[in-house]
C-alpha cells in the first residue's frame, strides 16, 4: 500500500510517463539516425559509382590494372591489400592484446593496474599521422635493415619473405596497424574482463584451480562475447585506417605473395586520389571502391565473428 509510487499522486505519475515516452522516442530516434546515415551513405556511393558499375561490371573487382591516365580501373589489388593488411594486423595484435588485458585485469599488482591501463588508453588516442611518421622514420628503416634481412635469411624459402628489402610494404603496413589496434583491443578487453563477477573467480579458486585455469575456465568463457566485440572493434579500425598505413605501405597497386612487397589499401587509394580526381568515370571508380570497402568490412566482420565464436566456444 505504502509504495513510493502510490504516494506520488496522479500528476507526478503522468509526468513521469511523459518523460519516459520522450526518453524512449529520443533514444530510438538516435538509433534510427545512425542507420539512416549509414543507408544514405551507401545509397549515395552507389549512385555516384553508377558510371563505373555500368562501364566495368564485374571486371572492376577482377582486374588488377589501375591506370587513371587511360581510365582503366581495377580494384583487386586494393581489396587484397586491405584484407591482407588487416588480417596480418589481427594475427599480430590479438595475442598481444589478450595477454596484456589478462595481465591488467587478473594478474597485475593493484597499484600498477590504473597507471598501466591509463597509458594504454593514451596510446589509443594518438593520432594516426603520428604513427605514420614514426613508421616512416623508425619502423621502415628498422624493418629494412634488421627484420627483413633476418626473415629473408631464416624463412626465405617461403614466398611470404622473398624479394628486395625496402622497408615500406605490406609487412610495415600490417605492423603499424597492429600497433594501432592493440591499445583499442586491450583496453576494451580489460574492461570486459573486469566486469566478470568475482564469485566466478572465487568459486574456481575454491575448487582448486590455478591462476591460469581460472582465467581459461572462468574469466574468458564468461567474457567471450565482449572479447569478440573488442576484436571486431580493432578490425574495424584496421580496415578503415587510412593515414598511417598509406604512409608506410608503398602505395603500389600490385598483388604479390611477399610481405616485403609494396601494396595498397582501399581507404588509402580513396584518400590519395579523390581530391584530385577529375573525370566522371574516375570519380565513379573511386566511389565504387568506397562501396566495396563497405561490403568488405561487413563481410570480414561476419567472418571474424563466426571464427572467433568457434575458436572461443567452451569445450
Amino acid at each position: 500500500m505504502d509504495t513510493p509510487q502510490s504516494r506520488l499522486g496522479p500528476l507526478h505519475r503522468s509526468r513521469r510517463h511523459r518523460g519516459d515516452a520522450l526518453f524512449k522516442g529520443l533514444t530510438a530516434a538516435f538509433a534510427v539516425l545512425i542507420v539512416v546515415i549509414l543507408a544514405d551513405m551507401a545509397l549515395e556511393m552507389a549512385r555516384t559509382s553508377r558510371a563505373s558499375l555500368a562501364h566495368f561490371g564485374w571486371r572492376f573487382i577482377r582486374s588488377t590494372n589501375w591506370d587513371p591516365v587511360r581510365e582503366q580501373f581495377g580494384a583487386l589489388p586494393f581489396i587484397y591489400g586491405t584484407v591482407v593488411s588487416s588480417l596480418l594486423a589481427l594475427i599480430l595484435a590479438v595475442p598481444i592484446s589478450m595477454g596484456a588485458s589478462i595481465w591488467l585485469s587478473e594478474l597485475a599488482p593493484v597499484w600498477l593496474k590504473t597507471p598501466a591501463g591509463f597509458l594504454i588508453e593514451l596510446l589509443a588516442a594518438v593520432p594516426s599521422v603520428v604513427y605514420g611518421l614514426w613508421g616512416i622514420f623508425v619502423l621502415c628503416p628498422f624493418l629494412r635493415n634488421v627484420v627483413e634481412p633476418l626473415l629473408g635469411k631464416t624463412l626465405g624459402s617461403l614466398p611470404l619473405f622473398q624479394g628486395p628489402h625496402q622497408g615500406f610494404g605490406m609487412l610495415a603496413g600490417g605492423i603499424i596497424l597492429a600497433i594501432m589496434i592493440t591499445p583499442t583491443i586491450t583496453s576494451v578487453s580489460r574492461e570486459v574482463m573486469k566486469a566478470v563477477p568475482n564469485v566466478l573467480r572465487e568459486g574456481s579458486f575454491a575448487l582448486g584451480a590455478t591462476r591460469s585455469e581460472v582465467v581459461r575456465m572462468a574469466v574468458l568463457p564468461y567474457a567471450r562475447s565482449g572479447l569478440v566485440g573488442a576484436v571486431i572493434l580493432g578490425l574495424g579500425r584496421a580496415l578503415g585506417e587510412t593515414m598511417a598505413i598509406t604512409m608506410v605501405i608503398g602505395n603500389r597497386s600490385e598483388i604479390s605473395a611477399s610481405l616485403f612487397s609494396p601494396s595498397y589499401t582501399m581507404a588509402s587509394v580513396i584518400a590519395n586520389e579523390f581530391t584530385e580526381a577529375t573525370g566522371d568515370l574516375y570519380l565513379a571508380a573511386l566511389a565504387e571502391i568506397g562501396l566495396l570497402l563497405f561490403v568488405v568490412t561487413v563481410a570480414l566482420n561476419i567472418v571474424a565473428r563466426l571464427l572467433v565464436w568457434r575458436v572461443a566456444r567452451p569445450t
Binding site: 591506370d67 611518421l133 628503416p141 602505395n251 603500389r252 590519395n272 579523390f274 581530391t275 584530385e276 577529375t278
Partner: protein, 366 residues
C-alpha cells in the same frame, strides 16, 4: 526546478545564436546586391578553394591584403586543384585555384566563361639520397625518364656516370619514389617526362595520378622526403619550395639548351620568360627554351569568371588580383615561389581590365 530553468535558458541562447548566424549569412551571401547599398563601409568576404601547392603564398597574400584593406576578408581552402575546379564550376566559391589548366572538357562543363589568371611560378625538384657525392648530381632529361620507366636500374649506369665525371657512383639499385596522392606536382613532373621521352608518353602518360612502372608511392611532399631521407640510393621528386625549405639535395637537370640547371627561383622565372603565353594565359612551361631555364617549371592559376556578377565582391576580387600580380609578387621569393616575368604581368593586367561585373568593368574603381 533550477536545472530546468537552466535548460530553458540554454535552449533560448542556442536559438538566439542560430538566428544571429542566419542573419550574418544573409548579409554576406547576398547575390548580386542591389545598387541601393548602405553607404557605411561593409565587410566583404571572398572565398576561394583549390590547389595546395601555392597555399603558403596565398595565405600570406590574403593576410597582408587584409591588413591593407581591413574590410576585405579572403578565405582560401587548399583542397586540391581538382576540387578547386569543381567548386568554381559549381559557383560555390568566388574563385578557384589550379596548378594545371582546365581541360577542354572541364571548360565546357563550366556554366560560364572562366579566365585563368597566372599568379606565381613553381617548380618540381628532383631529390636523391646518395652517399659520398661531393658535387650535386647531374642528370639528362631522357635519363630521368628511363629511371622512372625502370630501364635504368643501377646508379653506376654509364648514362648517369657520363654526366658526373669523378663522382663515386656504385652498382646499387636505384630506388624510385613517386607521389601516391593525386597532385599538381605529379602532373607537372609527368608533363615534363612526356615531353622528353616518347616511350614515357606511350607507356605512362601525363596526369595527376599515373600508373608508375616502378617504385614506391609516398603521400605528399613530406612523405616523399621521408622515404628519400631514410632510404639509401633513392630518387624522388618534390615541390621546389619544399625542397628548398628542407635543404634537400637537388639534381641539376639538363635543359633544352643542353645546360645543367639548378632549380632556383631565377631559373624558374627564366623558364616562364622562354615560353610565349597564349591568349588563354595558360601554358605549359616544362622543357622550356632558354639557356638558364629550369626544365620542370609551371604556372599556378586562379580561376575567375569573366563576368564576376556580384556588385560588391566582383570589384573587390579584381582589385585583390591586381594587387597580387603587382605588390604581391615581392613576397614570392621569400617563400620560394618565382615571381611572374614582366611580359606576363603585362598580359595579366590586360586580362584583369577585361573582367566585368554585369556590363561594367570590375576594375573601374582603380
Amino acid at each position: 526546478m533550477k536545472r530546468r530553468s537552466l535548460f530553458v535558458s540554454l535552449a533560448l541562447l542556442a536559438v538566439l545564436a542560430l538566428l544571429g548566424c542566419d542573419k550574418k549569412a544573409q548579409l554576406t551571401s547576398e547575390p548580386g546586391a542591389s545598387s541601393a547599398t548602405p553607404p557605411a563601409p561593409e565587410n566583404i568576404a571572398l572565398t576561394g578553394a583549390g590547389a595546395t601547392f601555392p597555399f603558403p603564398l596565398y595565405s600570406k597574400w590574403m593576410s597582408q591584403y587584409h591588413t591593407l584593406h581591413p574590410t576585405v576578408q579572403i578565405n582560401y581552402q587548399s583542397i586540391g586543384s581538382g576540387g578547386g575546379i569543381r567548386q568554381i564550376s559549381a559557383r560555390t566559391v568566388d574563385f578557384g585555384a589550379s596548378d594545371s589548366p582546365m581541360t577542354a572538357d572541364e571548360i565546357q562543363k563550366a556554366p560560364a566563361k572562366l579566365h585563368h589568371i597566372p599568379m606565381t611560378l613553381g617548380a618540381v625538384a628532383v631529390t636523391y639520397n646518395l652517399e659520398g657525392l661531393t658535387s650535386p648530381l647531374r642528370i639528362a632529361s631522357d635519363v630521368l625518364a628511363d629511371i622512372y620507366l625502370g630501364k635504368i636500374t643501377k646508379w653506376n649506369d654509364k648514362r648517369i656516370v657520363k654526366e658526373n665525371a669523378g663522382a663515386k657512383l656504385k652498382a646499387d639499385d636505384i630506388a624510385v619514389v613517386y607521389r601516391s596522392d593525386g597532385s599538381g606536382t605529379t602532373a607537372v613532373f609527368t608533363d615534363y617526362l612526356v615531353k622528353v621521352s616518347p616511350e614515357f608518353k606511350d607507356k605512362v602518360g601525363q596526369g595527376k595520378s599515373v600508373k608508375w612502372p616502378k617504385g614506391l608511392g609516398a603521400k605528399g611532399n613530406e612523405g616523399v622526403t621521408g622515404q628519400v631521407k631514410t632510404t639509401p640510393n633513392t630518387i624522388g621528386y618534390v615541390e621546389l619550395a619544399y625542397a628548398a625549405q628542407n635543404k634537400l639535395p637537388v639534381v641539376h637537370l639538363k635543359n633544352k639548351a643542353g645546360q645543367f640547371i639548378e632549380p632556383t627561383i631565377a631559373a624558374v622565372s627564366a623558364a616562364a620568360a622562354g615560353v610565349d603565353l597564349p591568349d588563354t594565359l595558360a601554358a605549359s612551361i616544362t622543357d622550356a627554351a632558354g639557356d638558364t631555364a629550369y626544365p620542370i617549371s609551371s604556372y599556378t592559376y586562379l580561376l575567375v569568371y569573366a563576368d564576376l556578377q556580384n556588385q560588391k565582391k566582383g570589384p573587390a576580387l579584381a582589385e585583390f588580383l591586381w594587387w597580387a600580380v603587382h605588390d604581391g609578387q615581392k613576397g614570392c621569393a621569400a617563400l620560394n615561389y618565382a615571381p611572374l616575368p614582366p611580359p606576363v604581368v603585362a598580359k595579366v593586367e590586360a586580362r584583369l581590365k577585361e573582367l566585368k561585373v554585369g556590363d561594367k568593368a570590375a576594375l573601374a574603381g582603380l
